[in-house]
């Protein structure tokens, strides 16, 4: 009557070392992952009037603000592109990064109640964030395309920009941004679990990081001599790449891309390990 599978044995003991990641277990919880995506989506826009329209409005409003402040007042050049399109293209990749980073960095703190009462591989939560933010990305992409078409057909600036064949790489660039934001977000979530100070820092970090990334200015504006500093930032290449894909203007260099990808891989792997280490005893330090 009582079937105990002899092949399954769980040993609970203090973990030593770092390489204890169990990806098979994460896979077992894939249904939970999808339901968490669903939950995020539903919960975020319940009791708002505009609902998912916020996904479109928020970057649009930001673009307008940028156009006024950086375009009109500060007169920062935009590689000769219509400012609205320039900022919107820059924000497309950046917003995905920033959103995912901020949501994953709060993983432990915002799930104390859940993590303290039931076990499942904690990595499921940040992974669900990565996926649910894809929806925001998709809607923002659609917005960009609509405005792109408008500028192409109804304005004089129509001849200044155009798609580049590099657009076939978009999924890979998006994957890189996802990996980087997850990696950095996991690091920060682990640090925040230990030191609450970092929860104040995460908002600050993301603001500074945006100005260090060519979102509101083109990389070409930075003198050749100092460009290597800007390229130390692993987000620089993906953002420039997206601008080339949609607008045909930007600076992408093979060596820089390789560097940026290596940093991404490194931060993702180390982030997962640190996260995995912290999750084991995190409830004790609440």
């Amino acid at each position: 009557m009582n079937q105990i599978p002899t092949d399954y044995e769980l040993v609970i003991r203090p973990t030593r070392g770092w390489l204890t990641l169990n990806l098979a277990e994460v896979w077992h919880y894939r249904d939970l992952l999808l339901l968490l995506v669903h939950r995020d989506f539903v919960a975020k826009y319940k009791q708002t009037i505009l609902g998912p329209a916020w996904f479109v409005l928020q970057p649009l409003l930001m673009t307008v603000v940028f156009s006024v402040i950086f375009g009109e007042i500060a007169k920062i050049p935009t590689d000769g592109l219509p400012p609205i399109l320039f900022y919107l293209a820059g924000l497309l990749g950046w917003n995905y990064f920033a959103q995912t980073f901020q949501n994953t960095s709060g993983t432990f703190l915002s799930n104390v109640g859940l993590f303290g009462k039931v076990y499942f591989p904690r990595l499921v939560v940040p992974l669900s964030v990565v996926i649910s933010n894809f929806f925001a990305f998709a809607l923002q992409l659609a917005t960009l395309l609509v405005i792109w078409i408008y500028f192409k057909l109804f304005t004089d600036a129509g001849g200044l920009f155009g798609f580049s064949t590099g657009i076939v790489w978009l999924p890979l660039v998006l994957l890189q941004i996802a990996a980087l934001s997850l990696g950095v977000g996991l690091w920060l979530s682990a640090l925040t679990a230990k030191y609450r100070d970092f929860s104040f820092l995460s908002g600050f970090i993301i603001q500074i990081w945006m100005y260090a990334t060519p979102v509101i200015y083109p990389l070409s504006q930075i003198p050749e001599k100092w460009r290597w500093i800007a390229v130390l930032n692993p987000m620089t290449m993906p953002i420039e790449a997206i601008k080339i894909m949609f607008l045909g203007q930007g600076t992408v260099v093979g060596a820089y891309v390789l560097f940026s990808i290596s940093i991404t891989v490194l931060s993702l792997l180390s982030g997962v390990l640190v996260f995995n280490k912290i999750e084991k005893t995190f409830v004790d330090s609440i």
Partner: protein, 438 residues
């Protein structure tokens, strides 16, 4: 016997109070500097001293056979929850290990992972997958869960609009329909009304009968006694008793009760009372027996009160009210019932009043007693004690016929029953033709 499903070997869990729980970076830096300084001074800092360590569990070992239902009992803070948390993999042990064979699911709280904005239907799926089920498994059980929770009509309403009763029913229903080989439950039955608790206990009984292993932490001794074959008593992080649940519960109740069943105030200045009367001692014992003995339904129980009368009182009566632990009164009586009461005149002095509850009157359960002194001439309260004296009555039988473990009501007194044979013949059958005629 077959291989145990759970084998716990010298499991220990240490919490560091000073160091590890440092919440801010600044504190950590301060401590780091403090440590450096102390090293230079050749001293060991207080922060890293042994005083900041706390062993929530120490060297706990036991094993559980397949199909066993084990109760884990002990006072608050004894380490029960820590043990469950380690077995549920919410936290890791500091030393030792546990082997678990089979899928384990734990329910440390009802409704974990429920999101108020989502509908009942969505929450069933979310909660089920949080607890480790696959989507398809939840789907297969969906109708059963809904039926158990009795929320059919509100499936598409966000759970934030549910009454708390509905919420708890739904949450328990999901968990109860998990089908793990090992189920770990922490005090989940403390919520919900009596009706619902009974239903949950019934469901748990089914689970146990299905041959699955259950680990059950509860303060409800009757539930433990009737559900569990074996109980483990934990005290200050160690196992102090383990064995048949009736025996272990007996041990536990005796210890827990002993302290509460007698209260003594030797100094009248501290004693409860006022300028006319002060209580010296209240104890609840079974008449003429060892005060350590458990109170059972079949023995007389004495409420033994000693008090100082400080001011002459012409007519005085002691009144006791026995209530259930939840506050509902069961019975009240006063010493006017004593035969010699009318001739009494209470001059100042130390008095002792013993009130005896006859055997086979109160049902098993937790009761509390309050004491009131009344001036019967003026019909006024002299003093009403604002504290209660608690006692628990346990059953005499190891296990009741009702597996739930109790007869209903606060009183259980044997009624007179008589069954006789009235007529030895079998009942007359209705004749077919008579039916036809009608």
């Amino acid at each position: 016997m077959s291989r145990p499903v759970i084998e716990v070997e010298s499991l220990s869990k240490r919490y560091r109070l000073g160091q590890f729980n440092a919440r801010t970076l600044r504190e950590e830096v301060d401590q780091f500097i403090a440590r450096l300084r102390n090293k230079q001074a050749g001293k060991v800092g207080e922060l890293s001293g042994a005083s900041s360590e706390f062993w929530a569990l120490k060297d706990v070992s036991f094993s559980v056979q397949p199909g066993e239902v084990i109760g884990i009992i002990g006072r608050n803070g004894a380490g029960k929850s820590t043990l469950l948390k380690i077995l549920s993999r919410i936290t890791e042990p500091t030393t030792g290990q546990a082997r678990v064979r089979g899928r384990i699911a734990s329910l440390l709280e009802v409704g974990t992972g429920f999101h108020p904005e989502l509908s009942g239907r969505e929450n069933i799926y979310l909660n089920g997958t949080v607890l480790g089920m696959r989507f398809a498994e939840v789907k297969a059980k969906f109708d059963e869960i809904v039926a158990f929770a009795e929320v059919e009509r509100f499936l598409d309403t966000p759970v934030k609009r549910y009454s708390s009763g509905m919420y708890v029913r739904l949450a328990f229903a999901v968990a109860a329909h998990l089908e793990p080989e090992i189920l770990v439950l922490d005090e989940v039955l403390a919520v919900g009304d009596a009706e619902f608790q009974k239903k949950c206990l019934g469901k748990m009984g089914d689970v146990a009968q299905g041959g699955r292993t259950v680990l059950f932490v509860s303060h409800n001794m009757q539930a433990v006694a009737s559900l569990c074959d074996r109980a483990i008593l934990i005290e200050s992080g160690r196992i102090v008793a383990s064995g048949p649940s009736a025996v272990v519960i007996d041990d536990y109740l005796r210890d827990a009760d002993e302290a509460a069943r007698e209260r003594v105030w030797n100094d009248p200045a501290d004693a409860p009372g006022n300028e006319r009367i002060r209580i010296r001692r209240v104890s609840l014992t079974s008449e003429g027996t060892d005060s350590r003995r458990n109170l059972t339904t079949d023995i007389p129980i004495s409420i033994d009160i000693e008090y100082w009368i400080l001011e002459h009182c012409a007519r005085m009566a002691v009144n006791v009210v026995i209530s259930k632990a939840d506050g509902s009164e069961v019975l009240e009586d006063w010493s006017v019932a004593e035969e010699t009461w009318r001739e009494r005149d209470f001059a100042p002095g130390l008095y002792r009043t013993i009130c005896t509850i006859p055997p086979n009157l109160l049902n098993r359960g937790s009761f509390k007693v309050s004491v009131i002194f009344i001036d019967t001439l003026l019909v006024k309260e002299i003093y009403k004690s604002d504290r209660f004296y608690h006692f628990t009555i346990v059953g005499v039988e190891e296990r009741d016929v009702y597996w739930h473990g109790n007869f209903l009501g606060p009183i259980h007194t044997p009624l007179r029953w008589k069954t006789t044979l009235v007529d030895g013949k079998p009942p007359p059958f209705l004749q077919p033709q008579i039916i036809a005629n009608q």
